[in-house]
Symmetry: C2
Subunit: 162 residues, 2 copies
């Protein structure tokens, strides 16, 4: 079984795979509500192809490292954004697309409070909550047909540990 | 000055003003990711008029009760959804529309972890975080013209206290 290391999640490092959602100093910041609110503007690229996005809560089972990932999935018709609702960390496993199937996976560990957004078509693992059962706000394109592709890896990867 | 009481936020009581976003037992629940994730599906009605929604973080200044509300606002072209990122409570002040201006305001106090979504055109106050400075994930239609109307109340309302 292949083993891959866990990398810290940074906006720069994650650029090939999507956006990191966090209140970061380089964001476009707007002071609104007569000075009582700071808006960190447009932190993820929501793609719906003109369809209506849904707001959902995903309650993810707790995982502990090392985690074995045997399959990846992608949503060809829309983006999918995950934000932890209690600051909890999670593991983000993604892979580049290679002619319609996932290439070599990479794994990123979020810092507390970081979320991620996957563009349409981005290969990623199922939700891998750490730190106990976790609730995540998820924005995606719900209830459209043919918006889930799954791929069983020829060889599962072990993420972390070792 | 008018004083209004603070009501607990419930899905039923909030129906005239929008949706409460929470992982509630009456939601459509789907077991996904081969049993490792429970999806509470489509908890808010996102309205964008075909435009692209944005995902933002609003960092709200801390308020304490009683709070004086002197103006309300609304977004005619899209919904706006607020979800606390640390479970923190906030105050939701809304009013029915009466011929283009807000009627008598009502105030709701969220339970820890509850969020709300306002439909397009719903009069509401600026973000009123309680429990300290709070970060909220906000899904709305950003960067469209003429999507903010503000209304100065003839008589401000005092919310809570007394």
């Amino acid at each position: 079984m292949r083993r891959i290391a866990v990398e810290p999640l940074t906006r720069q490092g994650f650029l090939p795979f999507g956006q990191v959602i966090e209140a970061h100093p380089d964001a476009e910041r707007r002071i609104i509500n007569r000075g009582t609110t700071e808006r960190f503007h447009d932190l993820a690229r929501v793609e719906t192809g003109g369809g209506r996005p849904t707001i959902n809560i995903f309650r993810g089972k707790a995982h502990t490292l090392p985690v074995i990932v045997a399959r990846l999935e992608r949503h060809p018709k829309g983006s999918q954004s995950f934000m932890p609702l209690g600051g909890q960390r999670f593991l983000v496993v993604v892979a580049p697309d290679q002619a319609g199937t996932p290439g070599m996976p990479r794994a990123f560990l979020t810092a507390p409070g970081q979320g991620v957004s996957y563009p349409a078509g981005q290969w990623h693992s199922a939700l891998l909550a750490l730190d106990g059962i976790g609730d995540f706000l998820v924005v995606d394109l719900g209830d459209v047909e043919d918006n889930l592709e799954e791929f069983e890896l020829a060889e599962p990867v072990t993420v972390g540990g070792g």
